[in-house]
Symmetry: C2
Subunit: 199 residues, 2 copies
C-alpha cells in the first residue's frame, strides 16, 4: 500500500519547497500518494505567484504517513498564528514522519514538533528561525538533518536533496538513485556538505 504524503500549503508558501519533494515522491506513484493540505478548499498562492489547488483542508485532513511543510514568505505570519500551530502540532504528531523544507522548520519548531530534536533551515533565515524555537538543537551547517522521525532541510533547493535521501531511507538506495537519474538530478548525497552554511 502506498504511503500517504500530506504537503501543508499556506498563502505565501515557497513554490519549489513544496513542488520539488512532490515531484520526487509523486514520480513513485506506486509508493506515495500526495495530498495538498490547505487552510480552505480555495487555491493557495505561492510567494512566486503560481497557485496550487488544495485537496483537503487543515480541518478535514486525515492522518498522513508523511507530513511535509514548506517554507516561504508566509511563514513569517504563521509562526504567530496560534490556531494554525495548535492544529499542526496535533495533526502532525500523529504522522509517522514529519519533514520540512527551508523555513518550514520554523513552523514545525514553533508548533513544538522539533522539541528535543536536531534540525536545520534556510541559512540566511537561521537566526530568525532559531528565535521561533530556541529549544531545538539547530544545526548551522547541514544540507539536511535526519533525527529519528523528523527530517528538516536547508533552503529551497535543499529539499530536493533531502527528499532523495528520504526515498533512499524508505525505499532503498537503488530506487532513490534511479529516481534521481529519471529526473536528471545530481543530488548532494552528503547531509554534512553545506555550501550555503554561514562562514
Amino acid at each position: 500500500m502506498s504511503q500517504q504524503v500530506a504537503v501543508v500549503v499556506f498563502d505565501g508558501f515557497e513554490l519549489l519547497d513544496a513542488c520539488g519533494p512532490m515531484e520526487l515522491l509523486g514520480a513513485l506513484a506506486d509508493q506515495f500518494a500526495i495530498a495538498v493540505v490547505g487552510p480552505t478548499t480555495a487555491p493557495v498562492r505561492s510567494t512566486q505567484g503560481p497557485r496550487l489547488c488544495v485537496d483537503t483542508t487543515y480541518a478535514d485532513a486525515p492522518v498522513a504517513d508523511i507530513v511535509l511543510v514548506p517554507g516561504g514568505r508566509g511563514t513569517r505570519e504563521l509562526v504567530d498564528d496560534h490556531d494554525f500551530l495548535a492544529w499542526l502540532r496535533t495533526w502532525a504528531s500523529a504522522a509517522t514522519l514529519v519533514s520540512s523544507v527551508c523555513t518550514g522548520s520554523a513552523l514545525l519548531g514553533a508548533a513544538g514538533l522539533l522539541d528535543g530534536y536536531r534540525a536545520t533551515s534556510n541559512k540566511r533565515a537561521l537566526a530568525w528561525v532559531m528565535e521561533q524555537a530556541p529549544q531545538v538543537r539547530w544545526e548551522a551547517q547541514a544540507r539536511w538533518v535526519e533525527d529519528r522521525d523528523r527530517w528538516t532541510s536547508s533552503g529551497i533547493a535543499a529539499g530536493l536533496d533531502m527528499t532523495v535521501a528520504l526515498v533512499a531511507s524508505l525505499c532503498g538506495d537503488e530506487t532513490a538513485m534511479e529516481l534521481a537519474r529519471t529526473l536528471e538530478l545530481e543530488p548532494n548525497r552528503d547531509p554534512t556538505r553545506d555550501p550555503f552554511a554561514a562562514s
Copy 2:
C-alpha cells in the same frame, strides 16, 4: 517594466519542469511576471498528481515575452493534437524567447517552432522526441541548448540549470548567481556538461 513569462500547462505536465523555472523567475518579481496558461480555466493536473491553477486560457493568452513549455506524460498525446500545435505555433512565434524543459521540446518541435534550430530534450526520451521533429538539430549531449531565441533543456531538473543561465543572459551573471544562492541551489553552469547523456 517586468517581462511577461507564460508557462504552458496541460493535463499530465511534469510538475518540476514548470515549477522549477517558475520558482527562479518568480523570485525576481520586479523583473518577471508569471502567467500559467492552460487549455481552460480549470486547474490542470500534473503527472505527479498536484494541480496548478490556470491564470489564462490558450485562447485568451496575450503575447508573452518569454514562453516556457514543460514536458511530462501529457506530451505523448499533445504531439498529435493539431489544434494545440497550431495554436502553440502561432501564439509562441510572437514571443521574444521560447523555451522548454524536458519533453516540452517535443511540443515545440512538433509545432515547427524549432525548425532550423539546435535543441535538446530528456535523454531517455530523445529517440521519441527526435521522431516528432526530424528537421531539428537535436543534441544528444547537452544540459541545455541556447540557439538564438530558442532555449531547450534536458530532463526535468535540467530546467533549473537552464533557467539560471537564462537569468544570467537577461539580467546579468551577478543577479543569476545571487538568485542561485538565495535558493541554496548549486547550478550546473556548463551547458556541455551533461551527466545524463546516452553513453
